[in-house]
């Protein structure tokens, strides 16, 4: 590693695994969609959903309102299915391609029985398919399903039919429609009534193949009185051309249920000149369907050349709670337009938004958030705090909050500020014997503390390291 | 003059006051003592008419124009204009509202109720300045916003000033001693003592006996679990001081 070129130090997950894959030809048509559905042996209602979404998608234009610029994507120039040649979803580890196992091991996600993480169940997704899920049997004892959506739909057809597209309808937006038409795989989580999931569930996404879009779809259903903490991580190889990632995540929390969803997003972000990187166009939304339900999003966004992502909560149940905690770091020529929507419909609903944006080099970071208090939402409360930190003189930080209140009993507070890591601060730390790296880490930790505190412990450590690594090149 | 009969009240569906009886005559000072969470402050809020608290049973009677009337049927401002005064444990800050203007609005509302000519700004200011002098306070109180950036002692003294201006017949002082140093406590107690008369009565709600060294009560009631469990003279407070509440409760 000491000999590695500079670029490798910037992004240590940038390697590519050379394995045989089964890929569909480039381009998107009804025919391709039927093929995806057939290869996954899907029930008819899924194919039907895909086709409806596709027919809607072709009538749409790409959204232009976000504060990001990128060349027009040639959607017919992409491949919509790519899977390792060996049959996916295996019964035992021996059948998994050893190259893939090694890939995940290099990424810090050991899957083998002896090495795998004890407190976390992991679903490993490689390009379009789920490779394997650890701890499946342990979870099954509680009646919990955690695994690939493709397999899950066979086991729980009624549940998938009931909830798929119920929170993010395929008509929601351009990318959601595209995802609904071509989604490859993703995770299904089902927590039965009254069950507190005994371990964190984690999905690890890896884009490997070239010129392939990744379109996973995650569906999490927490039945009455249940609890689950879900984590996702993502990386991709370094390439000069851009890769498209357009995921959809739907969360449903029924009465008294709680879902905690944490993301550490580290897709390849492109190089200093802005070449390559992942376009991360993701629709994530949770529905607090039942009374006293709670959905909490935490995200640490450090990757992708372009991010367009607004994990949201619809607060439908009375007394439901929505939370959004975000750290978004952009450097080089990255562009991130991210934030949340809190839609208050039920009575006594509460939401909290904490957003920390760090922009470096020539990047642009935008917080875009909406807080909507409907006329029906008596006694709704929202508190929003979004802070930006600019590092260097060439980056741009924007804050665009939308606050819409139609109920007089609402109390909404929004505050935002900007700050910076100055050379004075670093000098001050140094004069007290603290090295530069540690100084930056301390300052960053201070700035992001409110968000990191909401992450599971191992994830928080990982997140801090990730930010430090990214910033090293940007703070002079 | 003031009588509580079998009062049951609570908040959020939970009963806190569980059958309270109390009679107060003009000129008397009653002390209600009790451990934390015994319902003392709920009692004061219920008498003042805070809408968060629900009364499920009982009556709170006040002599209004020589008739005992159930004030539970009145709004908080009607109760105040008929002579009930609650000195808040935590006086509310009202940014932007001038203290003198607030006092005048309050005073004139009571005057209107009684069919007496309202006071204009300048004669009212003179009237308040006299009260301030009487209480030994500083006049700079008047130019400030109601309780905004007041110290704990200043807030409590502001409550006493309001009491002096409004001349209520029944004053309930909710932990007027909390958060005060000895000097502030003396000043507040001194103010209260100056306002005592044969026509008005006081209920002191307190956790500590200390206050009663400065304002000597006629009657002391020990409050626990929403009702009075023991009543006596001022010596009862001393008993609490030496033996603690547990001794009396069990």
């Amino acid at each position: 590693m000491s000999e590695a070129p500079l670029t490798n130090r910037e992004y240590k997950y940038g390697f590519y695994t050379d394995i045989e894959t089964e890929e569909f030809p480039k381009g998107l048509s009804e025919d391709i969609i039927r093929k995806i559905s057939a290869i996954k042996e899907e029930p008819d209602f899924i194919l039907d959903f895909r086709l409806k979404a596709f027919r809607h998608w072709i009538t749409l234009e790409e959204p232009q309102w976000a504060n990001v610029k990128y060349p027009k994507i040639d959607f017919q120039g992409l491949k919509y299915y790519s899977a390792p040649k060996k049959k996916p979803q295996l019964s035992s580890l021996e059948e998994v391609d050893p190259d893939i196992l090694e890939t995940f091991e290099r990424l810090g996600i050991p899957l083998s029985e002896q090495k795998r993480l004890s407190g976390v169940a992991v679903d490993a997704v490689f390009d379009s398919v789920s490779i394997m899920t650890t701890h499946k049997a342990d979870l099954a004892k509680f009646g919990i399903y955690f695994g690939s959506l493709s397999e899950g739909v066979k086991e729980f057809p009624d549940i998938v039919k009931k909830y798929l597209g119920s929170v993010v309808p395929y008509k929601d937006n351009f990318y959601a429609a595209l995802n609904s038409a071509v989604f490859s795989d993703g995770s299904l989580v089902y927590i039965p009534k009254g069950v507190r999931c005994p371990m964190d569930l984690s999905t690890y996404f890896r884009i490997n193949a070239r010129e392939t879009g990744q379109f996973e779809r995650t569906l999490i259903i927490a039945e009455e009185g249940s609890y689950v903490s879900y984590l996702e991580g993502c990386t991709a190889p370094m390439r000069d051309e851009n890769q498209l990632h357009a995921a959809v995540v739907e969360l449903i929390a029924l009465r008294d249920a709680e879902i905690k969803y944490s993301t550490v997003q580290n897709w390849y972000a492109g190089d200093k000149e802005g070449r390559g990187g992942v376009y991360n166009f993701v629709t994530k939304r949770g529905l607090c369907k039942g009374d006293h339900s709670k959905i909490s999003w935490t995200q640490v966004e450090t990757g992708s050349s372009v991010t367009w992502k607004y994990p949201s909560v619809i607060l439908q149940g009375d007394h439901s709670i929505g939370e959004f905690y975000s750290v978004a770091l952009t450097n080089f020529k990255m562009q991130a337009d991210t934030g949340t929507k809190m839609i208050h419909l039920g009575k006594n609903t509460t939401s909290k938004i904490v957003s920390k944006g760090i922009t470096c080099d020539e990047s642009i970071g935008t917080y875009r958030g909406q807080v909507r208090i409907a006329a029906s939402a008596e006694n709704a409360r929202n508190y929003t705090c979004c802070d930006s930190m600019l590092v260097g003189d060439t980056s741009i930080a924007c804050t665009v909050p939308y606050i819409e209140v139609k109920n007089k009993s609402a109390v909404v507070e929004h505050e935002a500020s900007t700050s910076k890591i100055s050379s004075d601060q670093i000098f001050y730390f140094k004069s007290r014997g603290i090295g530069e790296e540690e100084a930056i880490s301390l300052l960053l930790n201070g700035f992001c503390r409110d968000v990191f505190n909401t992450l599971p412990a191992e994830f928080a450590v990982e997140a801090v390291k990730l930010l430090e690594l990214k910033l090293e090149n940007s703070v002079g | 003059m003031f009588e509580i009969k079998n009062l049951h009240a609570g908040i959020d569906g939970k009963e806190v006051i569980k059958g309270l009886n109390l009679t107060v005559n003009p000129g008397e000072v009653h002390a209600i003592m009790g451990p934390n969470g015994s319902g003392k402050s709920t009692f004061s809020k219920v008498v003042a008419g805070h809408s968060d608290y629900e009364v499920s049973e009982g009556e709170v009677l006040l002599d209004i124009h020589f008739k005992m009337k159930n004030i539970l049927l009145l709004t908080p401002d009607e109760r105040a204009r008929n002579g009930i005064f609650l000195a808040f444990q935590y006086p509310t800050e009202v940014p932007g509202v001038n203290n003198l203007e607030f006092l005048r609005a309050s005073f004139n509302a009571t005057m209107r109720e009684q069919g007496i000519q309202e006071m204009d700004a300048s004669s009212f200011e003179a009237f308040v300045l006299k009260k301030i002098e009487f209480l030994g306070m500083k006049p700079d109180f008047l130019g400030r916003q109601v309780n905004v950036d007041f110290s704990g002692g200043e807030k409590k003294r502001n409550e006493v000033l309001q009491m002096a201006v409004l001349s209520p017949r029944l004053c309930i002082l909710d932990e007027i001693d909390s958060g005060l140093d000895v000097d502030s406590l003396k000043a507040v107690a001194d103010g209260v003592n100056r306002l005592r008369s044969r026509e008005n009565a006081f209920i002191l709600i307190t956790h500590y006996q200390r206050l009663l060294d400065y304002i000597v009560p006629d009657k002391v009631h020990i409050f626990n679990d929403g009702r009075i469990i023991k009543s006596g003279g001022k010596e009862l407070a001393k008993e609490v001081e030496t033996l603690g509440y547990d001794h009396l409760i069990h």
């Binding site: 260097g392 924007c398 606050i403 007089k408 900007t418 | 809408s51 204009r81 009202v94 509202v97 209107r112």
Partner: protein, 411 residues
């Protein structure tokens, strides 16, 4: 719907007979032809579909005769139906002229659609040159007479402050007809080095009219622009400000109050451009909403790349007093320099029940308690008006919302 220009063709034809249109006016009309309708599809009109207020054809209001009373506390210029009607200015510090156009602003007319519509009428711009400090305030009075739903009233004023000159300007409206129509004011100001403008605007147009006030200000080195906006009248009242801080030491302070009642809507759009380093801005806007009314606050702070040492603050507080009222607020920051202090805050709430209880516990009836607290909310802005005569005028104009029948009367 056809094109926007169709709504104004009649007005233009009439105006052209008086003043043949200059090339720039033709150019602006051309630009309007290509503009889409300002409807909800456009970010600036997300909360206000302006199209429906512009879609019927307008006819030009006439210059009417009206008896004007002058107040000696002010230098006064009076517009009747948008046309300069009288000048009562007895100082050499102020020069007033009517120009074909103000070339300075025309080099870069704003892309704001409403200011383009104002320019497109052609005619003359009233130019006010402030040569030196003038202690007596200048009162710009707009009188609308005999308006109806098709009336179009478009005063256009440019003010230039010479270096180190100081002046206070008050704009107010007297609507005698009150039968609606579109009032589309354009106010431009250039503040030369070290000058200071205290600018009070009362938007008090008739309740049936659509009112738009564009306010474009350029602030040069060490100049101070202080403004107070009172957005009170009209069925739809829009106040649109673009403030450019062009050189070091330029400052802008914007305060505002919008009091919306019944089925009305009051919008404020504020853009402050920190184009230079060491420039400062502070915004504080407060709104009270009653009835079925609506209000929009959209404040944007823009800090340019080289603008280090900027201090920019923005605060927006709203009191929502009716269950049918709606507030949409969007405080934006766009920052391209790391060495800045920027912050913004926005709150939406109602009267604090603890405060109401406290006042009631002192004998003050609920309605009066609400009024006292409401007034205190507004007074934070009202009391920042130093000129007591202007403060009295403004407080009077706000009374319809602040006095809801209670007895409270402040000193």
């Amino acid at each position: 719907m056809g094109q926007i220009v169709e709504s104004f063709e009649k007005v233009w034809a009439e105006a052209d007979q008086l003043h043949p249109p200059k090339d720039f006016v033709r150019l602006i009309r051309k630009e309007l032809e290509s503009l889409p309708w300002p409807d909800r599809g456009h970010e600036d009109f997300k909360y206000t579909n302006l199209s429906k207020y512009l879609s019927s054809p307008f006819i030009s209001s006439k210059k009417e005769l009206f008896q004007i009373e002058n107040d000696n506390a002010y230098h006064t210029i009076t517009f009747i139906n948008g046309f300069l009607a009288s000048k009562n200015v007895d100082t050499k510090s102020i020069q007033i002229s009517e120009n074909e156009a103000n070339s300075h602003f025309l080099e870069k007319p704003s892309t704001q659609i409403m200011s383009l519509i104002n320019w497109a009428q052609g005619g003359k711009t009233v130019h006010i040159q402030v040569l030196s400090t003038c202690t007596k305030p200048l009162f710009i009075q707009y009188i609308h007479v005999g308006s109806d739903s098709q009336s179009l009233i478009q005063p256009r004023i440019s003010v230039a402050l010479s270096p180190h000159a100081k002046i206070t300007i008050l704009e107010d409206t007297l609507d005698m007809g009150g039968s609606g129509g579109l009032v589309n004011k354009l106010f431009m100001a250039t503040l030369a080095e070290g000058s200071e403008l205290n600018h009070y605007r009362i938007q008090n147009d008739g309740y049936k009219s659509t009112s738009n006030g564009s306010n474009q200000v350029e602030v040069h080195k060490d100049a101070n622009y202080n403004t107070w906006h009172f957005n009170l009248g009209a069925l739809l009242g829009r106040e649109v400000s673009q403030i450019r801080l062009l050189a070091e030491g330029a400052r802008a302070q914007l305060k505002g109050l919008y009091l919306s009642t019944e089925n009305r809507q009051l919008d404020q759009h504020i853009e402050v451009f920190h184009d230079s380093k060491n420039t400062y801005s502070k915004q504080h806007f407060k709104g009270i909403l009653r009835g079925k009314s609506k209000a929009v606050f959209n404040g944007r702070i823009y800090v340019a790349k080289d603008a280090s040492g900027v201090d920019a603050r923005q605060l927006n507080n709203n009191l929502l007093l009716s269950s049918e009222a709606e507030i949409d607020t969007k405080p934006e920051l766009i920052i391209e320099n790391s060495d800045v202090k920027c912050s913004h805050g926005a709150t939406v709430g109602q009267l604090n029940p603890d405060q109401i209880f406290y006042l009631m516990a002192r004998g003050i009836p609920a309605a009066e308690a609400e009024e006292i607290i409401c007034r205190a909310f507004a007074e934070e802005i009202l009391f920042s008006i130093e000129n007591l005569d202007i403060r009295k005028k403004v407080t009077g104009a706000c009374a319809h919302v602040l006095n809801q029948g209670g007895k409270y009367a402040p000193v």
